[in-house]
Symmetry: D2
Subunit: 397 residues, 4 copies
């Protein structure tokens, strides 16, 4: 079939980037309801799946479209403009497929099986890393979640927090330590509905409410002994600069989509609102034109920046991943700033829940909480700049 992609006897949905605008609209129609109820957006995920967007990054060698980061940021910006909760849940799956496309690390059978599922229905996967005691895992340390060897299985016990899309995940890549001596760490592949697996509905955030980033409890969950990704001695994580850049640029694009939705609502409002005393739409006032110009300029700059780095990364530019942190910091600031300015311009209209702007605002505030966070990015960027200086060597004794 010309319209689809074959994978080992299964057929992934064809990638239909041309359907992005309609997907955005359909997601937007349901976003308010999901936000109010903080309900998992299964309907939205289905739409994303149907348009082939959820499997866009499956490698060509696996029968997928092999979309790069350029397409991924385009997809995530569009989904983010519709419903950023759907976009975030989708992003996690896209990132897992993209990582596997770059460097195969899953057990072969496990990935093939997962792709078969993905051909049938929306198949979500996500890394579960964060634990209550730990702070963010990227800053080092052993996980408390522990895999105990029992014959041909691991028994996994622990708690993960901030587990985006937990109730809808087909697979969880649970970062855990073994109880071996010497200890090893890796990502244990847990299937949905495994006995001992419980999702606790702890997520009650101001924003991205439908992302259901709940706690997940593992109480002796069985994982086949080979279903572990990258099991190895603990140590300073080999920095995956390209993977980090996918995350940074992909999520920045997602929140730029939120800001675009806010801008679009604002533009419509300014056209529709005709104060009695003015007799013309607010859109005709220089003050509002200039303010919209600030928003537009910020979003244009951030979008060009993200797109340019995504293209550079797809082209294999070795310097590009090192600039992704700057794009995240500047891009999320631009997105937040744009929505905040829209709020300032619209007074009560922007703050009432009858209009979506306040939701965009609550959502866009979540852009800062994804790692790496601003303070880490700034310190890293500063050290890199300082280290390029000839005198840098002598600072460190």
């Amino acid at each position: 079939m010309s319209d689809s992609t074959a994978v080992e006897g299964a057929v992934l949905p064809a990638l239909r980037l041309d359907r992005l605008p309609e997907v955005t609209r359909a997601l937007a129609d349901r976003a308010d309801a999901h936000d109010r109820e903080a309900s998992f957006p299964a309907d939205g995920i289905a739409l994303v799946h149907d348009a082939g967007l959820l499997t866009a990054t499956v490698a060509a060698r696996h029968g997928g479209p092999g979309a790069g980061l350029t397409d991924t940021v385009r997809i995530l910006r569009a989904l983010g403009a519709g419903d950023p909760a759907v976009a975030l849940i989708s992003a996690m799956t896209l990132f897992v497929h993209a990582a596997e496309a770059r460097t195969p690390r899953w057990p072969t059978a496990a990935y093939a099986e997962f792709l078969h599922t993905a051909a049938d229905r929306p198949a979500l996967v996500n890394h579960l890393r964060v634990e209550p005691e730990l702070g963010s895992p990227v800053r080092g340390g052993l996980p408390a979640t522990t895999a105990r060897r029992a014959g041909d299985h691991w028994l996994l016990t622990g708690r993960k927090i901030y587990s985006t899309g937990a109730v809808g995940l087909d697979r969880m890549l649970v970062w855990a330590r073994t109880d071996e001596d010497p200890v090893r760490v890796g990502s244990f592949l847990v299937r949905k509905d495994s006995p001992g697996l419980t999702v606790e509905p702890t997520w009650d955030h101001v924003g991205l409410r439908a992302s259901r980033s709940d706690d997940v409890l593992f109480d002796g969950v069985r994982v086949p002994v080979d279903d572990v990704v990258a099991l190895a001695a603990p140590g300073p994580a080999t920095p995956d600069a390209v993977g980090g850049a996918w995350g940074a640029l992909g999520l920045t694009a997602l929140y730029l989509g939120v800001a675009e939705a806010a801008r679009d609502w604002l533009v419509g409002f300014l056209h529709e609102r005709v104060p009695t005393g003015l007799g013309a739409p607010l859109a005709t006032l220089p003050r509002f034109q200039s303010a919209v110009g600030e928003i537009e300029t910020a979003l244009t700059g951030a979008t060009v920046l993200v797109d340019a780095l995504a293209a550079d990364i797809d082209a294999g530019d070795p310097d590009a991943p090192g600039r992704a942190g700057a794009a995240k910091l500047l891009g999320t600031r631009a997105a937040i700033g744009a929505v905040e300015q829209a709020l300032q311009l619209t007074g009560n209209h922007g703050l009432t829940r009858a209009n979506p702007l306040q939701r965009h605002h609550r959502d866009v505030l979540c852009s800062r909480i994804h790692t790496p966070q601003d303070d880490s990015l700034l310190t890293a960027a500063g050290r890199a700049a300082l280290d390029r200086h000839p005198l840098a060597a002598k600072d460190t004794p």
Copy 2:
């Protein structure tokens, strides 16, 4: 000859982008003296010429290197880091050659003659547009400078202000009106040392002092009747979006170069400065690392943005010129902000004239004064965003 480019019997200096670092250093060595004396940097211009940078944008069909905007922003960033006055004077010449490469408008003989000069020595050219009474010409209106027909010559009379590099220009493209009925406007080509031409040393700015952007008086200056570029009926200027983008991106790159020089000085200072109480360089303090990170992040983002749009424009992307305004606004803000932060971090050390930072600061403040200015950019960006909305049509009666 492998090292040069032939042009109709003359030889333009070969374009040596590899020499940019040394040119930057050589310009930087002399920048303080030129700033203090507000003296025309003829020595720096000669260096730029020798490295083929001043003729980089001469079209291949004219025997030049035919450099595009990608190379031009690279050149101007490097020159700006050395001496932005040299860079600004050079930029004007580069823009004129680039415009002629895109769309030939000079009289053929006049351009050929100018290229012969450019093969022999640094040959500078600039548009002289601004007049005391007019405000900025891009906002419309007829010039007061008038060309009166006298046989096979025009006699040109008027005053131009902000004429960058005036004392060093080989050619001036003087925007003027004719005394005909109906009136025409165009750029009259004036040669250096023409009788009736006087440069008044009125330029006494806080920054870019060596750019010598003086007043130029024309008192019946003779211009051969054919030496006029684009003589035509006045009217709304055909917007030259690509030319505008060259100016916006080129000058933004120039000031990003200034900011890079400020960052480099700051980084050196932080490595060299070892407070007694600390016993280690300031560079080891998280507070300074984070602050340098802010600067580095801003400059990285702005540089990627400018470079990406320059590449898009070279590739003929029709949407790219429309984004150049955003890059100018964001890029000059980034440049100014970076230098201001460096000033804040260094106290008395940054403000003393014994160190170059205060000069970088005075120079970078000039970035905002080049047209289009921020308020115009914002209003234009806002209107464009508002006009994309379906309701836009009904706003205008």
Copy 3:
């Protein structure tokens, strides 16, 4: 009795400023529940009444404590730190009493009767001014709400929006026009439970949810013919500079209270949060100390500013009211900025609804929507500065 104040046979609750801390705490305990349910905080209003805070500004000549603006900003800051919805509802009543204390305008009997009610139980009053068609009334124009004369009564018909505390008001001062020729405008005194009066629960804001600033419908509501305040020919409102300053400073203080609550939560969080890798509270890190310092500095400055102007106004300084707009603009920016910074510092912890910071954030964003809004304040301040110049006269033809 030493503990109370006599009023024409009734006894207003004694003003107990010493009880402010406990009232703040009690309100804070219930604020989350009222926010989630968007429920009218009758319990909180009762506490405010019991401590004599709701009648603090009743004039001494009416048997009240006669508190000035100095005490009022202190009260509103404390109430705002507890529950800004309670504070806002209370503020409206305090402002009405204070205005009556400065310049009696109520019918004598009506005010006496209202004070008797206020002696018995929490008696709330508010001006209802804003209408859907009108924009904000301070910018001029006739109200659409109309009073038709019917014998010894007016029959009031219309709709008011943003009617803070509507369901709990004992009295509404409804700004309306008469159907007379020539027309008059004034504030018609409507009692709770009047036939024809309906409160529509339209208020669904992101912040100040418990303020219940609903729509109120009047369908032929009877108002005794004398129960009208300041009935007069329409015209440019006599600017009540002192009354405007009470509103501006009082509401700014209220939101500074919200910001104080946010700061206090942040400080506690930084003391309690001990990252594993750090082994000490976040409060020990210079980065957080400096960030708290930004917040503290902003709040200190804004609080001194508001308090100083309040004292000046109580002292009758004629220049002070003209500075109240600056205090509102700077004070609300400081309050919003402080809470936003706290959000940035605390990531997921600040954004989860398990913690109050996100509520403080949603609440403090409402500070900007009270008139006069920032754009009006800035234009007014700018014009005043420009008009002081000798050349100002010639600008206006």
Copy 4:
């Protein structure tokens, strides 16, 4: 005489606050020349002396006007608006007199003699504290400048930097250590023209050029053995909170004066500038009105803040000195921000040395360099806020 103040046989000039406007104007007339030449403004100091402003803070018990901080900030704001170099030099003398008025620490004869000089002519005095090796003295450490005992004199040797007004000082209070065992530190009183005293004209700053904050070298300068102020064992400086507040508020007022001068120039420019296309002054455009409103609002807020704290300090409020740091940080930011905005609004006109705005800008940037600097203020404010929390005790082991 009714118009003067008697002091032990001498007569200090009468304090004439009513002459502040004319002094401001006279200083402003000469400020540009002093800035260009970086020349000591002896003429301006004479004007300040003649109006009694230089001795305003001499205590009543010494026959002076005994002006408090309220008058001092008023004086310094007015002088700063005229010529901040004159203001800064004067401020140092005012602070010394004020400190002596609060707590007598000078040798009696030495102070009496100094007052006699001050009756005859402008008598300047300043603390010389900073040394090249030391960083700022407020952060602790022993000075390198050393007093060696030789009979009934000390012989003082060392170098001080940033010695404001050095060439014009009648007295220098030179912070130095003795060569005794155990060592003592104190302020050694050096007279002008002492043998061994050399002023090196090292001051070449971008701003406050006429303040001549040069290096001073002491090569065995003789100081009578009793002419030492506060000679004592070294140790953590007893924090002089009130003295610190005088410095913080006084200097902030000075720079607010600079910003007022910038605003006044801007206002005049906007009235005078009539673009051809507009046909009316820029002052009539809402964009400029709003921008002036930003500046005006910032300056109003900062001025009320400084004035309020000055009054509180004069009234002995024990909490007020602790808030002076906030006023310095917010006030200098307001001053710098106001001038920067004026620069942004005026393009080339603001940046040319033909207009004073660029000088105001260079001057106002110096506001940040006076101790305590922003980072110290923020950390101190943050720690104070954190330390108020009940959990604070447990942070420190």
